[in-house]
């Protein structure tokens, strides 16, 4: 006869409520694990989708995600000419926050060369960008429909396609536009600022008596062209030809003035170790604390439940029950509670993880590990109750 099951059947209300409570706690532990994995996935989302072997950025920076990096767009041609490089493509990145529907609307704008790579990895609705201007592809997370328009800088952009769960390392959904549009959005000043800038240049040149009026005019135009140029990018990504030596290519570009070539592996390290390390540690610590709390709660529940049953245990001992019967009753109850709580937690998190504001990635390995931990916690916690139960004397069953 399974005494644990029968006790649970009799006290099912209490048992279910306790399991739900514990299940919610385990659900939080699972979500923490999912958020932790989600942080990784988010951090590497764009980097992985780009499938670049090298990220060429501004010298002495860890750009383009972890630090600001600005390099001239035309360096792409020089990079493409390096032996071993198969293709090179410029990219620009910018976090943008606008008002939409009266609420702040934040996203990560990626500008890419329509003839290069680094654009949306997949189109799940609509189409990719075909025109050089004013079209955009947005990530699912932006919750925008095809044909919807959004004003960025001086122009309206129309959503022509939807891509998957692309996000920045900060968790903001990604939107893709052509490189030219992205550069304009990021680098182009407004008309007043351009006018003021030109007047400042003209005033300074007019103060130089050695310049003739045609020279002044010539310089005005060229300086303005330089200062108003938007041909700047945050990085140029490169893919190597099969068999090419990554380190050699990296060293070669590293010898150039003003540039740093970061391998994809290094970029992953920068994104994971540098950018999300503290968040990862925070989540890890929080998970440990929650697991300790779960262990304490399970121990208390089992101990209280054992205390409630001391007379029953004494009676069982008096009628000759072996220790294994009593140990089995307590241990099975503890394990059953753990398993049911785990199932409840898993059910809750499976139904809700898609609704979390940030990505929650439930990894089978993590869930299995947590299950084993829960079983270990339940087993160890039940020792408290078992120890108490084994000390009960059969004589305690006697008397009124």
């Amino acid at each position: 006869m399974n005494l644990a099951f029968r006790d649970i059947r009799y006290h099912r209300g209490r048992f279910i409520l306790t399991s739900i409570g514990l299940g919610l706690l385990l659900g939080v532990v699972m979500s923490m694990g999912g958020i932790y994995r989600g942080l990784f996935a988010d951090a590497l989302s764009i980097s992985n989708a780009t499938r670049a072997d090298l990220w060429v950025v501004q010298k002495e920076t860890s750009g383009p995600f972890a630090a600001i990096s600005r390099i001239p767009e035309d360096i792409r041609y020089r990079i493409a000419a390096v032996p071993g490089v198969a293709e090179a493509s410029p990219l620009s990145f910018e976090t943008i926050q606008i008002e939409r529907g009266g609420k702040p609307f934040r996203f990560f704008l990626v500008g890419y060369d329509l003839n290069g790579f680094g654009g949306p990895p997949v189109i799940i609705a609509g189409r990719g960008i075909r025109q050089k201007h004013y079209e955009m592809v947005v990530a699912q997370g932006m919750k925008m429909g095809l044909g919807e328009k959004v004003r960025l800088g001086l122009h309206d952009y129309t959503v022509v396609g939807i891509t998957g769960k692309m996000v920045s390392s900060g968790g903001d959904p990604a939107a893709y536009v052509s490189l030219a549009d992205a550069q304009e959005i990021q680098f182009k000043s407004d008309n007043d600022a351009i006018r003021n800038q030109r007047e400042r240049i003209a005033a300074r040149l007019a103060g130089l008596p050695t310049l003739s009026p045609p020279q002044t005019k010539f310089l005005e135009q060229n300086i303005a062209a330089l200062t108003e140029s938007t041909h700047t990018v945050n990085t140029v990504v490169a893919r190597l030809a099969p068999g090419a030596n990554l380190q050699e290519v990296q060293e070669r570009i590293g010898h150039w003035n003003h540039f740093r070539a970061i391998s994809d592996g290094e970029q992953t390290q920068i994104l994971t170790k540098g950018m999300i390390e503290k968040a990862r540690m925070q989540l890890g610590l929080f998970r440990i604390i929650l697991l300790v709390i779960s262990a304490v709660i399970i121990s208390l529940i089992i101990y209280t439940s054992t205390i409630d049953k001391l007379r029953v245990i004494a009676t069982l001992k008096l009628i000759g029950a072996q220790n294994r019967v009593i140990i089995g009753m307590i241990l099975q109850q503890s394990l059953l509670m753990g398993v049911i709580a785990y199932a409840i937690g898993y059910g809750i998190i499976s139904l809700t993880y898609d609704r979390f504001p940030r990505r929650v990635e439930l990894v089978a390995g993590d869930l299995q590990t947590l299950f084993v931990i829960v079983i270990v916690i339940c087993t160890v916690s039940s020792f408290v109750g078992i120890r108490k139960a084994l000390r009960v004397e059969p004589a305690e069953a006697l008397g009124g």
């Binding site: 005494l3 009628i319 059969p394």
Partner: protein, 228 residues
């Protein structure tokens, strides 16, 4: 052969000046099928004597022999598996019934049988037979909290009888019952003692409940003062 033999049994709590003698030099023999009362006021040592015979309380001195097997001789004999002896040879009936609250009447009897390694089917058949014999056939699936005091005590008796023990020890089995139910329980015990050839020792302080018992031992201050 006696079902129970107690020879010069003593139980002393503590040592030296603080020692308290709960039972002193108690001797008695009970034959199979006998219904015996141990009668005495509170604190007289009658429950201590019962627990020593029931292998719960280790005697300080003296011998306890159950069904021909020596269990204690100036303390438990190390080669004796007390739990096994309790399981196989002794049935207990308590003052407060001590039914397991989360088991039905049927399961309360079955648990004693399954602990003694009977299969579920065998245990069920025996438990049903016992409960029906005690007029509880209609209460098999009822939890103890829904049974009356008399019904609960009858379930407890069924559990005590389940393994056909040689000895049944009852500690104030009528204390929680009204007089009529108490007398019914005692009558039932007498009937069972005869039918099952079990020796039944009943500890009680209530003189009214021992009518019709085969023998009555009076206990005072830890000593058996006499036999009626």
């Amino acid at each position: 052969m006696y079902a129970v033999e107690v020879e010069r049994l003593s139980k002393i709590y503590g040592r030296g000046e603080t020692a308290v003698t709960a039972i002193a030099d108690a001797s008695l023999q009970v034959k199979p099928g006998e219904l015996v009362a141990i009668l005495g006021p509170s604190g007289s040592g009658k429950t201590t004597l019962l627990t020593a015979i029931g292998l719960i309380n280790e005697p300080t001195r003296g011998r306890v022999i159950l069904d021909g097997t020596t269990i204690a001789d100036d303390g438990w004999l190390p080669e004796i598996d007390l739990k096994r002896v309790r399981r196989e040879k002794i049935g207990f009936i308590f003052q407060a019934h001590n039914l397991i609250p989360f088991l039905t009447a049927l399961e309360n009897v079955m648990v004693a049988l399954e602990i003694n390694d009977l299969t579920k089917r065998e245990a069920r058949a025996r438990a049903v037979e016992l409960l029906e014999a005690l007029n509880l056939g209609h209460r098999l699936a009822t939890y103890p909290s829904f049974l009356s005091g008399g019904e609960s005590q009858r379930v407890a008796i069924a559990r005590a009888l389940a393994n056909r023990p040689k000895v049944i020890l009852a500690d104030e089995p009528t204390a929680a019952l009204d007089t009529e139910n108490g007398k019914n329980v005692m009558a039932l015990l007498k009937k069972l003692a005869v039918e099952n050839r079990s020796a039944i020792l009943v500890v009680t302080h209530d003189h009214r409940m021992v009518e019709g018992f085969d023998r009555i031992f009076d206990v005072r201050d830890g000593r058996i003062m006499g036999e009626r």
